[in-house]
Structure formats: C-alpha cells, structure tokens
Amino acid sequence: MGKWRLIKNSVRFAFRAKRRWITFVIIFAFLSAFITFFAGVFNMYSTDELLEQKGFYIKANGYGSVTDAQAQSIFTDISSLSQVESVALFRYFDLGDYIRVFGVDPDFKWAFREAKPSLITDGRYIHSLGDAVVSQNATIKADVGTFPGNISVSLQKGDILHFENPTTTFELKVVGEINDRIVAPDKLRIFITNDDFESLHADFGASTPIYCYSMAVLVKGDLYAPFNSDIYDNMNALDDPSEPLFLLTENLAFGDWLDPDYAIPDTVKKDRASRFLYFIFGMVGGILLTILYNFLIVWFRRREIAVLRAMGYEKGEIRINLLGESLTISIVGYFVGILAIVIYFWTQQMTFTNQLLNLWTLLISFGIVVGLTVPGLLLSSFSFVRVSPVILFKAR
C-alpha cells in the first residue's frame, strides 16, 4: 500500500541528510538528556528524596528501646493526626546470635532511610515474598565448640537462605546486597518483606521479641503540585516540639525514641519551586527548539516539497514525509541523550541503581520529549502548504 511505503521511506531517507540529521539529533539529545535529568529529579521526590521532601524520620534510641506493642500504639496515634498521610514502621528481631532480620513494607521502601533501594550495591531490592536483601559483604557466622563465631561463610546475590526446624522449612532468596546504614556490628542484617518477617518470626524466632528500629511519618500533600503548599503547611504544623508528633515520641509509654529528624519546610519549598522553574524553562526551550527545527526542515526541504507537489503528491502524503523526518530525529535524539547519560555515569563510575534512569523516569521523559515535538510538527504540517511548486521554475 502506498501510504505504508511513504512512511517507511520517509524514515529511511531521513537518515540520509547526514549533516542536518546529525546536528539536530545532537540538539535533541541535549534536550532529552536535560528533560530526563529533570524527570529523574522529580521522580526522586517520591523515591530517594521522599523523606527529605515530606517526611519525619524517628529512630528508636537503641537496641530494644521500643517494643513492637509500643510501636503499634504510637503508630495508631500518629496515623490519626490530621496532617499525616501515612506512617511506616521498620521492625526487627534477632535470629540466634548473629542474624538480625528487618521487615520492610515494599510500599514504603523509600521511607526506610537506612536501607532504601538506592543503597543497593548489587542486584535489586525486595519486591515480593521470598526475596531477601543482605548487607554488603555479609557473612554468616556460627559457633563451633566453645569459640563463638569462628566459622563464617560469605553471602552473595543468588544464595538461598534455608531455615529448617522439626516442623517446618522456610526459604529466602538473596536478590541483592545493600550498603545499609544500620549500625549493628557482628550481625548479619537481612531485609525481607513484612509478611515474610511475620512468618519467619512465628516459625523460627517466636522466643525472641520484635523491636522497632524506626518510624517514618509522611505528611499529606502532592509532591507534584508546584503551586500547592499543603506539604509546606503540614510540615510546618508538625514541626514544633509542642505538637503531638513530638509529644508522643517523648512519652516513654510509647518507648524510648530519639528526636524526630525532618525536612526543613522552607528549604524544601524553595528547592521545589526553583526546580520546577528550571523545568518549565526547559520545556519552553524545548518547544521553541522543535518549532525552530520544524520551521527549518520545511525551509531546507522546500524545493523537495515543491517537486513533490508538482508531481501530484497529496498534502497528506507530503505531511507523512515531513513527520517521518521529525519523529525519527526526536526519537533517535532521545535515545542518544539517554545513552549519553549512561556513558557519563559509566565514566564517573556511578551505579545505576539510582533513580535517574528508572523505568518511570524514562517513560515520562520520553513522553515529554515526544509531546514537545507536537507543536513543531503541527507548525510544519501547516507551513509546508505555503511552499508553491512555482518556485521550481525559477533558477536557483
């Protein structure tokens, strides 16, 4: 069919205008990298920077200072505060002398400041039942005879942790290693989902108590609404030693907590505002760029357009030709931009577990880049009509 052939050819031939093509691919690559960078930064609001954006993080004063029951009751009280959106508890229990097991709710993994996914050094974070993440360079120790811990085996991604007692067995697969910030010398730290945590405790650790390690409190408010000050107001409302959040943590009936650590509302607000501003500049710049680009394309190719019109190409058919080139450039430019980021990270030896290049960032920035080209495409698909074939009869 003619149309399909036109689409195919418009893409194929777009690559042939080398200098023009490369120039614009590079420009689009820069734009894409810029947009991706910002999409990544904004993505961090709900991930790596979640606590810095809208959270209070409260740690227990030390080993065993907050019991599970105390944690559950402060959880209930804080959850009921009107400014609070959600509360997450991070709990642990000891399995024997050498293993400390931490339970994480995968929905709140980013609120676990000492063991959030960006601290993974190898493999991935826990997603589902049966997954386990172990602290970096972990070793399993065992006592032999009278010498405590004198046998050790190192643990790596891919290893299976097999628990067995006379009535039941339990298996966890090590899916990643994490450079966690929890200070517990001589303990192998294992991070698993809360559900596994409960079963493992019930079957193998029932004799040892569950304690609370820390609690994250997130306030209400939309991270992606630059002109909405809910987060700011809610943070301010709680950020006061006379407020219930502080009073509850100071009440020893709820255990022995350290002072809350929290995002500074003013700084965060300013930071968000300026990032959004840069982002908007980027978008406006991008739109102008694609408009300019499409304008130039019609100008560069005007004799070609005139020839096609003289030949009897319909407007829609010429449009396909122009769109083919524009879309190819913006899509290739996008991937070149991403590749540039990857190469940059690679040369800087940074790890890719960070949030800059996660799936959502990529999807969103791709959508934005393709979306930015729309005004330009519209412009070109209207402006080419003004190219009259009559110019062909005039000598160059």
């Binding site: 096609l308 009897g312 074939p389």
Partner: protein, 252 residues
Amino acid sequence: MGDQIIKTEKVTKIYKRGRSEIVRALDKVSLEINAGEILMIIGPSGSGKTTILNCLSGLDTVTEGKILFNTSRAGEGFKIIENKKNKEESSRKKSSNFIDITTWNEKQLTAYRRHNIGFVFQAWELIPTLKAVENVESSLYTSRIPSSEIREKSIKLLRKVGLIDKEYAYPDQLSGGEQQRVAICRALSKEPRIVFADEPTGNLDSDSGNQIMRQMKIISREGAAVVIATHNMELRKFADRIIKIHDGQISF
C-alpha cells in the same frame, strides 16, 4: 482533432506587481497540445513561457479563459473528482470529453498532475538524499504498484537514457546532463500524457543539451506530448511544432 490532449481558449494571466502595476503575462493565449508531438514554446526572457507551463499544469490559476483537458486521453488511474462548479459544467457539455481545469480545486488539480503530468526543470530538482533510481521511483511511491515492480521499471528507464551503472549514485555524484536524464526518467516513470520541460537544457553545455533533446524526442514517439519552453533558438531543430511567444502573446 482527437489527438488533442489540451487546448486553451483565450487564456489571460495578469500578475499584480506592487499596488497598481499590472503585468499581462499571458494575453488571450489559445493553443493546443497534441499527443506524440514535441511542442516548443520559444520566446525571450520575460515573455511568459513559464507562466504558460504553470497554468497548463494547474500550478497556477488563470485570470481569464479556459484550459480544456481531454479526459478520453487521461492517464491510467485518473478519475475526475467532481465538485459543484464543474459538475454543472460537465452536465452542460455531456457530448464533449473536454473539461475545463480552471474550475478545479487544488485536490482535483493534484490528481490531474499525478496521473497526467510530468515535469522536467531547468535546475533538475532531483531530491539530493535519494539515489538516482529512488528519484525516478519517487513519483510512483504514492501509487499502488508493488515496490519491486517500481524498481524494475525505474532501472529499465535509466538504462534507456544511457545511465548504466549509475542507478545507485546520489545526484551530487552525477554530471548535470546525467542528472537531467534522471529527471526525465522521473517525469516518465508514471507514464504521463504530457511532459512539461522549462529550459531543460538551460544549465547544460550544447553536447549534453542535444543529448537531452534526443531523449525528449524518443519520449514523444511513445505517445506523450512534450512541451518545451525555451529561449534557445538552436533547439528549434528538435521541435515538431513551434509557438513563438512575445509579451504574453503567441504567434505561430
């Protein structure tokens, strides 16, 4: 004559230049174009040659007069798209095969050019990013003919004008004469009824110019009318018929 493809009746084209100045680029031009002939329109610079070609091919509108196209000689696949204006007209003149293209809108004119008209320009106007054979094919990309068939046909045409082993060269790797031959093949690949050529040899030395004209001759022998506009009197020897034009008025 049944061989007429186009005939014009008192076509006048007036350009406005600035506020008040009027240029009568064509003044009551009546002519006909017959199948299988080389019709040469000769006149000095500014006499209106290009303007005639523009009007006959529907690239430009006329101010007054009629351009009648013989639908019984239309190219394959050509269908008259009717609009209100020419519906009345065609019912009025049921007996005749001639339809006035000056009543057509842009869509109709596009279809008209697509199936009936080929162009050869002074500056060749090959698409620089397409290889020679692709340039020839480009006028068929919008058709329903399978790609392999188009390729075969285009290569055959290129061979016919003596471009052997240059099918896959880009325009800037070809000489002017070679480029013009590619352009001729491009004009011919869709088997047009008329080829309009505006100074086709204008950018060439006389040897390659003559070669181009011989190619034109061959084309016309296969049934297409070739209309050549030029100021070069030396080309007269290649014409079957000559129309002289001066200040927008023609004489035979």
